[in-house]
């Protein structure tokens, strides 16, 4: 006899279960965990190299850097001399998942850090489905890409909290319209914040550092629990 059984189970429930544990752990240790996503070549690693150099005296920082092959990104980050750097080589997988994160975090002392940067694999589609326990996603695009990118990848821009536009020193050469990319992004995600930077010249990076300081401060702030 044939019968239909409603099971209503999330396909990524295993991932989400681990992500939930990680999120709780980040909350307990008051670590700001940011998931950095972008296309390949937008400048995630360059942004982190600058950030580690500028803020290593101010904050404890760790980076988990995902790459399909090689540890090149992690190596560039280690050369800054700031923070705990761990590489995840996904060997073909197009995204990081919560289980890979859990494994990489074993080697990181969360009590020693204020900020955990997760440098995801360069890809604007697949990583959006995998929760890594992060506080928020930061999406990075660059002026050498099209200003319609938010419309092409609504899933990722919808789930992000901050959009960083990199390579603004090259904007004249690229026909990239800052107003247009912003209006495109807002139609997808009305609450998105924006910062424009050049990791090459350093322009705009202070705004990014201030944004980070604000996020860390609110993470550390004590909230009185009135429920009990």
């Amino acid at each position: 006899m044939e019968r239909r059984i409603e099971i209503e189970k999330q396909v990524l429930s295993e991932n989400d279960k681990v992500a939930l544990q990680l999120r709780q752990e980040f909350a307990d240790r008051r670590v700001l965990a940011l998931n950095l996503v972008s296309s390949p070549g937008s400048g995630k690693t360059s942004l982190l190299v600058q950030t580690l150099s500028a803020l290593k005296a101010e904050f404890g920082i760790a980076v988990v850097a995902g790459d399909v092959q090689t540890e090149n990104d992690a190596q560039r980050l280690r050369e800054t001399g700031g923070g705990q750097i761990r590489a995840i080589e996904t060997r073909g997988a197009c995204h990081l998942d919560a289980l890979m994160m859990e494994k990489a975090l074993v080697e990181i002392d969360l009590d020693d850090i204020d900020i955990l940067f997760i440098e995801n694999v360069g890809n604007l589609v697949c990583p959006s489905s995998y929760d890594l326990g992060e506080e928020m996603k930061v999406v990075i695009i660059s002026t050498t890409e099209g200003d319609d990118k938010p419309l092409k990848y609504p899933g990722m821009f919808r789930r992000s909290s901050l959009m960083i536009t990199n390579k603004i020193d090259m904007i004249e050469m690229c026909d990239f319209d800052l107003e247009k990319v912003r209006s495109n992004a807002v139609t997808v995600n009305n609450s998105l914040e924006f910062i424009n930077v050049s990791c090459r010249t350093g322009e705009g990076l202070d705004l990014w550092y201030d944004w980070l300081r604000k996020q860390v401060a609110s993470k550390k702030a004590t909230v009185c629990d009135k429920s009990g």
């Binding site: 006899m1 059984i5 099971i7 189970k9 999330q10 396909v11 489905s129 092409k152 997808v188 009305n190």
Partner: protein, 126 residues
């Protein structure tokens, strides 16, 4: 191209459910996939076919229901359909939208045949 990884999660999840509940022959797996997941259903079907080939799910059909994006407008409070990529209320034009549907990636149901069983005697002749 994360469809293969998703297909793998589906196969593993269904296999463990079948084992736990002791279901007989599994005829169909019903999946619900939201538009915002950016999943290419053809690739997902292909992944399911390849990964289930050497398991008791080799004859199991995968049925995918695609769910369009819809939301609630936080300005006028109406339920609205969303024409992605523009998250705008169809009634008042507001952009503050809470997404209600479109992010699903769920195994909704299993269809089983309790008279059949999945041991080798049921296997089709070749």
């Amino acid at each position: 191209m994360h469809e293969l990884a998703i297909a793998d999660s589906i196969v593993q999840s269904v296999l463990s459910e079948v084992e736990r509940q002791g279901y007989g022959n599994l005829i169909e797996v019903g999946l619900r996939v939201g538009e915002l997941t950016d999943i290419v259903t053809d690739s997902l079907c292909f992944g399911f076919e390849v990964l289930s080939r050497d398991t008791i799910l080799r004859d199991t059909k995968l049925v995918i229901e695609q769910v369009p994006v819809s939301g609630e407008c936080l300005t006028c409070r109406k339920k609205t359909s969303i024409n992605i990529p523009v998250f705008q209320c169809e009634y008042c034009g507001g952009f503050e939208i809470k997404v209600v549907n479109g992010q699903e990636l769920d195994i909704a149901y299993l269809k089983v045949d309790d008279d059949g069983d999945n041991d080798e005697t049921e296997q089709r002749g070749e």
